[in-house]
Amino acid sequence: MTATAERPATTIFRRPRSTTGLWSWLTTVDHKRIGILYGYAAFFFFVIGGIEALLLRIQLAQANAEFLTAGAYNALFTMHGTTMVFLFIMPASAAFMNYLLPLLIGARDVAFPRLNALSWWIFLFGGIFLYSTFIFGTSVPPVSPDGITGNLAPGGGPGSFNWLADSPDGGWFCYQPNCGPLYSPGTAMDYWALGIQILGLASLVSAINFIVTVFNMRARGMRLLRMPVFAWMTTVVAFLLLFSLPIIAVALFMVAFDRQFGTVFFAATSGGDPILWQHLFWLFGHPEVYILILPAMGIVSEVLPVFSRKPLFGYSAVVFAGAAIAFLGFGVWAHHMFASGITPVAQAAFALATMTIAIPTGIKIFNWMGTLWGGRLRLSTPMLFAIGFLAMFTIGGLSGVTHAVVPSDWQQTDTYYIVAHFHYVLFGGAVFGLFAGMYYWFPKLTGRLMSDRLGKVHFWLQFIGFNLTFAPMHWLGLQGMVRRTWKYAPETGLEPWNLAVTVGAFIIATSIAVFMFNWYRSKRRGALAGMDPWDARTVEWMTPSPTPEHNFSEPPVVTRLDHFWHLKYDEDEEGRPVRRPEADEMLAHLEDVGRHPTTPIHLPNPSYFPLVMAVGIPLVFYGIIYHTSAWGKALIVVGALIMLAALIGWGMEPLEEPHEAHEPEQEGVEEESGHV
């Protein structure tokens, strides 16, 4: 089907045309720009989440400290966890997926470019909605079942950050009934529940988009088992999102209904079952942790081969292990509930299921080491981070296995031992992996290289800071430090290590500052990268850097895994690569064609409607929070009308403007693509 088949019946607005400046970013449907937007937003939230963590750490540096009030502390760890998971790692992964997925599979864009823009805007507004709790949210003292009103925390001095206490404070898994209407009255928790709901919507739309992209948009010859591992992991993550988000959506609706409309799903006083929430949350939450780690594993699988100058060892094993992790990930959720009083049969079953995940994960680890084995390891910054990932993730994974040993977990659960585990996998794993990717693909993004020297300073500072922060937490946990604790008594003997942890956190912060400086400077003044700075293997490097708007002038025709590498290298009898004599000429040709396409290329036109549509959603959700008041109802109506208008506009606007090719030379040729 081509867009020429019909003329737009009415054009309410003129189509956006700007290709530079603010408007171009507000209306873009280019997957690369959307990726960049995701990336900066995610990093912004990383800094916010990090600052929250630093505040937590200052409070915990000493026993019985009074730096933060209890209310502020509880709000901060809740927002820290929520931010890092939903507003940092997920969108940062989405940034990579958006930017890279089409490039990796040799496509011009994702299947539904406008839906892609919609996902981004929904995400952004979801994040803003969630954070607006700091301004609009309220916490009021709970009322006991017997009708006695509790007391709020004493205010503390102006330096005690008590104003932060008016925000969600139930932990990132919001256990019921503490998060219910009875024990968390006030609107803060509504912001949390509805904010996560909005963010989930954004991810669900992305997931569908990526799945269709992978199955329908690959370049010729790019069979599934020729896709780069990162594209594979994107696919796997998309399926994880697809199947786990509806679960949390229902769970969050139940919370929201309990809080807003008087249902009693989790109200123990009316017979509701608080454990049901835990099942639903973790049935989502455990797949979620693989949603967080698999993209990083994909990145590492791209980086290690390039810097070892060897193909990925056991490509298909790595791919299938990724899929197996995802599949098994749906069968282990109750390992977060070993202490909840589920039957021993269930505990044993979930323990066994949990342990099996170590097998496919081990397969990945060992294949990565097989990749390194016998290679010519260039320890540039991306490689350092990838190796850091390998080492740190293994530690986190092994402590994960110790949790799977149920009776041990009864001791460990809800202590800093768990906090240590998940920071090793989340920070040591996902964050190290993401940094590897940032250094690796920075040239693709900007055409320049990041400073390797500063990169190494960043790496080593972060590596030290990270271990100093999170290694002692194992110890603290086993010495009895429960998590989510605002204060601990001096007699517990926990103080020295807590101080070390806090120092470590500040070293991490320093390292991040180094990174930010490096990024800023390299963008302006970094060495020019050229098209293929790393002598890479995959087809995204077959386009000039920075990537031109149309990605590929001629989409590659892929003949095998690591297509690009094999265009550059032949193998001798020993199986060692020999650079083809024509390689340099080919690169020059690719660069030239990439910049100056010979055939006209038709790209999806920018559109206002994703942005407009996304504006409506938070309005409706604000309206729901205040639905008892007239203006709350008005907000719902206004939001709905905006969405409806956007929908109509969207429906009437063809994806590609048939008679306004965006460059004069590009008339006539139609690219096949969907209409959404």
């Binding site: 925390a153 503490n178 070892s308 009083g341 323990a351 016998g374 390891l377 202590t415 271990n467 430090m481």
Partner: protein, 350 residues
């Protein structure tokens, strides 16, 4: 610069490990490493088994990684040869699937068996009903008829079965020296068995986030000999002493009656005196009949920092939510005199 940082890393790691070793012997009352009863010991054994297996894997994997980095690092020599392009090895894939599976099987067997061994209670063990409140623990001994709070007294060498529930949100009862954790779920009953081999006092903590003062919801378990336990029960069953007229204790008693304390707290006197107190069903606060017999109170948080029981009580009565943010016991605006009298009265209830 870089070399410096790298050197520092290695040194820091070594220090870290060493320091762990040192502080291992330190006196941490909540540590999981000093099990004091059969349940915790069983867990401890299991932990160490798994710990050493994990450490072995860790050492092997890290050792191999460091070795690889050392051997295969590109030394940027001109004549360096390109590496052989290995694509994988089905044999190795099988190997590193099977070996971890076998290791896990080794871990799985004791895991599963101990789960069954350590869950639930023996039928004939002594029962204690435990109810979690924001932010204190209430203990009721149904067979003995004793009510107390925050300090659980048990006979050493005997199994005690906690039948646990919660009055409000989730809590999680944890005494590391005696057993792992178990949730207290409103509307449901969960079981946890505790046994201390020797007399002693053990610290505990609520481990599930339960609102504003979760970090100040602690507990103690005191294991005593059977004889002492029986004595303790007898003492707890005795009614509180009605103070004689004109003493400071009596003034405190009057304050207690008149300042609304009885809305939430029970003190059991002998029958005649009890009839003086209108016990309101309004709210359930800790039973204060033998308040002074408990070495810690207010969620086992007070006294703290070396203060005496009396000093702590004075601080508590002056402004409970200041000691414990969010506490359901309000600041009753007591005068210094009233507080003094109350202390005299409450401290006499041993």
């Amino acid at each position: 610069m870089l070399r410096l940082i790298r050197g520092a890393t290695v040194a820091a790691m070594a220090l870290l490990l060493g320091a762990c070793q040192l502080i291992g012997n330190e006196d941490a009352p909540l540590t999981t490493f000093r099990p004091a009863g059969p349940n915790a010991e069983r867990i401890d054994d299991l932990f160490w088994l798994v710990f050493w297996i994990a450490t072995a894997i860790f050492v092997l994997v890290m050792g191999a990684l460091v070795l690889i980095l050392f051997v295969f690092r590109d030394r940027k020599k001109e004549d360096a040869r390109e590496p052989k392009q290995l694509h994988g090895s089905p044999k190795l894939e099988v190997l590193w699937t099977v070996i971890p599976a076998l290791i896990l099987a080794v871990i799985a067997v004791p895991t599963v068996s101990s789960v069954f061994e350590l869950t639930g209670c023996e039928d004939d063990s002594m029962r204690v009903e435990l109810t979690g409140h924001q932010w204190w623990f209430e203990f009721h001994y149904p067979d003995q008829g004793v009510d107390t709070a925050n300090v659980l007294v048990i006979p050493a060498g005997e199994e005690v079965c906690l039948e646990m529930t919660s009055d409000d949100v989730l809590h999680n009862f944890w005494v590391p020296a005696l057993h792992g954790k178990r949730y207290l779920v409103p509307g449901q009953t969960t079981l946890l068995r505790l046994e201390a081999s020797q007399p002693g006092e053990f610290w505990g903590h609520c481990a599930e986030f339960c609102g504003l003062s979760h970090s100040l919801m602690r507990t103690r378990v005191q294991a005593v000999s059977r004889a002492e336990f029986d004595e303790w029960v007898a003492a707890q069953l005795a009614p509180a002493n009605l103070p004689a007229d004109g003493t400071p204790e009596f003034d405190g008693y009057q304050v207690f009656l008149n300042k609304g304390c009885t809305q939430c707290h029970t003190i059991r006197f002998d029958d005649e005196a009890s009839s003086n107190i209108v016990l309101s069903e309004l709210f359930n606060g800790p039973d204060l009949t033998h308040f002074a017999s408990r070495n810690v109170f207010a969620g086992a948080v007070l006294p703290e920092g070396g203060e005496t029981h009396e000093q702590a009580l004075a601080r508590w009565l002056a402004d409970p939510p200041n000691v414990k943010p969010g506490s359901f016991m309000p600041n009753l605006a007591l005068t210094a005199q009233e507080i003094e009298d109350l202390i005299a009265f409450l401290e006499s209830n041993t």
